[in-house]
């Protein structure tokens, strides 16, 4: 029963992959080796598609693998398998979290964790900035420092950042404009 197997495999990934979408990647590689459901070049395609479509990367990857193994029901079942552990675990943690809210030590722990989260998100932002503004591949080929940054992209980055600060519109608006600008200016 392929659907049951799909559900179980993705349920396990949902239980064991700690640290977000990309943390599921090694589990998917293992899955491909054990089941032969897909090849490693399929994984490369899957990452590329998951990254260039909206939605959390981990979920996109589960849907993509599930669909390719078992059609539409496969896509839904794999995704549900991966999400179910999150619902169970987070609900359990929430029950305790609400119980201990207002507890001095829990508040102190969060006092320390908030700046760490700020640092983690800044690091994630830095990775995106590197990918979006630097041309590391060109630089590695030529070793010319002038090839490292893409000036038009940096200019656009500054422009969009300033408009986000100034106009405070919905993020979706900036995303949509940027997609159009990307196509028009051939980023």
């Amino acid at each position: 029963m392929i659907y049951l197997r799909l559900f179980w495999e993705f349920f396990k990934i949902g239980v064991f992959a700690v640290g977000g979408g990309m943390a599921t990647l090694p589990f998917l590689q293992d899955l491909s080796a054990r089941t032969g459901w897909f090849t490693s070049s399929f994984i490369t395609d899957m990452v590329a598609i998951s990254e260039s479509t909206p939605g959390p990367i981990g979920i996109n990857m589960a849907t993509y693998v599930g669909y390719n193994v078992g059609g539409v029901p496969g896509g839904i079942i794999a995704t549900m398998g991966e999400v179910l552990p999150a619902i169970l675990i987070v609900t359990t943690v929430s029950i305790y979290l609400e119980k201990f809210r207002g507890n001095k030590y829990v508040d102190y722990a969060f006092y320390g964790m908030r700046p760490a989260v700020c640092g983690l998100i800044a690091a994630a932002g830095w990775e995106i900035i590197k990918m979006a503004l630097l041309r590391l591949d060109v630089f590695q080929a030529t070793h010319q420092i002038t090839d490292l940054v893409a000036p038009v992209r940096v200019l656009y980055f500054v422009l969009i950042f300033l408009s986000i600060r100034k106009f405070k519109k919905h993020p979706v608006l900036y995303i949509a404009i940027s997609a159009v600008v990307g196509i028009l200016l051939r980023f």
């Binding site: 619902i87 987070v90 995106i128």
Partner: protein, 186 residues
Amino acid sequence: MKELLDLYTAFFKMGAVTFGGGYAMLPILQREAVEKKGWVTNEEVMDFYAVSQGLPGIIAVNVAVFIGYHKRKIAGGIAAALGVVSPCLIIIMTIAAFLANFQDNAYVKHAFAGISICVAALILNTVIGLWKKGVKDSLTLVLCLVTFIGTVLTDLSPIIYVVASALLGIAFMRSREKTAGKEEVK
């Protein structure tokens, strides 16, 4: 029922317009769940991210379940989780079924390059907000900088920074409590 539907639709929208991982969802999440709906505060969102980091599963889904539970208990958590994954199901399966080599299409590549610049700017803007909420004294300043530099330069798991920061937060605040107590006695 209306509230559950509201949770589902709000997270559906967030899932549909988040490009990248769970962290890339944060600017949109703040706009929808904090500013528009008032379901949670910015501090609570940061707390949910901190705990999600140490839990298994996709961070975006974990945060969705936290907020859903916070609002409407178990049913709310399920509604939010289903909301955030529904657009993925529709979009990914449509692409897989009808758009071969979608990721190699030139327009998709240019559009995505534009979007990543925008997401980078949105995240930078969010970080400024988080900095104002989270960095209050020398300890929190150090925790933020060490986590940032450590994550950029090494492959250590983020959980280590989150757990260490929690423990240091407790230790620091306890000792501050004690000194404050002593001063009161004087």
